[in-house]
Symmetry: C2
Subunit: 292 residues, 2 copies
Amino acid sequence: MNPINRLAIVGGIHGNELIGVYLVKKFQKYPHLINRNSFESLALLGNLQAILARRRYVDIDLNRCFIGDNLPATKSSIYEELRAKEIQAILQPENQEFVDVIIDLHTTTANMGLCIIIGNIHPLLLGLAAYLSAINPLVKVYIHQQARNSGFLRSLCQLGFSIEVGAVAQGTLDGELFKQTENLVYAVLDYFEDFNKGKNPLIQNSVTVYRASGVVNYPRNEDGDIAAMIHPQLQFRDYQPLYSGDPLFLTFESKEIFYEGESTVHPIFINEAAYYEKGIAMYLSQKELIHI
Amino acid sequence: MNPINRLAIVGGIHGNELIGVYLVKKFQKYPHLINRNSFESLALLGNLQAILARRRYVDIDLNRCFIGDNLPATKSSIYEELRAKEIQAILQPENQEFVDVIIDLHTTTANMGLCIIIGNIHPLLLGLAAYLSAINPLVKVYIHQQARNSGFLRSLCQLGFSIEVGAVAQGTLDGELFKQTENLVYAVLDYFEDFNKGKNPLIQNSVTVYRASGVVNYPRNEDGDIAAMIHPQLQFRDYQPLYSGDPLFLTFESKEIFYEGESTVHPIFINEAAYYEKGIAMYLSQKELIHI
């Protein structure tokens, strides 16, 4: 495989996810923190207007706008479409892969801990996931396959992935999770530095992953409004097995709704604030061990 | 004292505080839940446009717009100024106190538990605070005195107060806190029903309160941006004593900043998302026992 020449760390693709915003500001102020001998690093803020407005986005979700189309967007009146083009012009000028790695920093109101989200199962990303899991047991790996240029920032390059940290409320910082995320970024940089230098950073030959297998929507009433809440027994229990018959929702009338699927699943993104507008209550995943 | 004739329960004065929004929707759908023999109850949603937009407010904070001025607001182009007039017209038509009690439902990202916020030290409110504290040890009482018609919804009438529940992320529901808040509202209704019937619901003659004594702003850098986070040792420790020398902040460079005040204080609203735009890190209070 070719060496890594350039790596980008992006924060604030969603303007109210502050850990990524303030980590990137720190890296911009102290670039030596992310410089490594064998590759160049750049730190970039994502949705500038949404960061100022302390909102996820202004017009539409920026993290659905990276469709690999480098036509000029000057005709668009949608801020995020313009900003996506600007970011693509920095990361992929001339439609070439200028950066080899993209680390996209996010937070979630779900209790996701330190989660690496991989959209493209590349051996170097699986090796990274194994490495990070081995050095920190709080790290979890979620595989949600998506096509190249499918709208997510991470889909812009082969070695693009997200770090999703929680639980943290939108619009707030959490000092402990800030430090843990920062250390995770440094571990990622060490991994690629070792790779470039021909060292094998792989310290175990398998990794536990959670592979996307479905989605659960909120129950709705006749007006289309949500009719139930995440069941208190499920709240904050991301990654834990959910068995047939386990409680899933509690209606506003205090009626319990149970999981009726036959297979055991592992819910993640339970009660993520940003998914209410889509009616999504959680994603489901299958836990598996991948040998690498 | 005069009997209570009408009581209003208001939710969604801030559009992204969902427990109040969905409790009010429930009470509007099932009015028998809040009906009592001796007084009339009404349930009202606050910031309708902000609820739709899943934001705290659209233009300005609605909970700073209740200034008791009943002039027509048709000239204003600020949504919240118009909506404040509409709400005042429902609660105080002809500038008279149509409702005797206002319960204003809020949530916070701070770990405030079930907090009653009293802006006006009225014996009936202190009795209510004592009653609620006695039947549920999770209830805390915060006294933040403010003038009549000072902008807060609760300042519209003598027996106005807020219920502030947390920690819960903006834009999310929490099933456990929803149930606890609902039960707290029923206990408030029981209290006023007992009062009207001449029963004395007072089951203890003192109440522990946290009285507002100050505010702590985030440290700033030369650009005016915040320069530190709530210290991890202080996060979620609302109401706990903070002694001189205790850690207060952690800068992004991992430097600790300590509390240097001489008197012991009890911080509340620690790391509330909505206060970042004002630069407020927490409020300070003095814990005291009031005999009633």
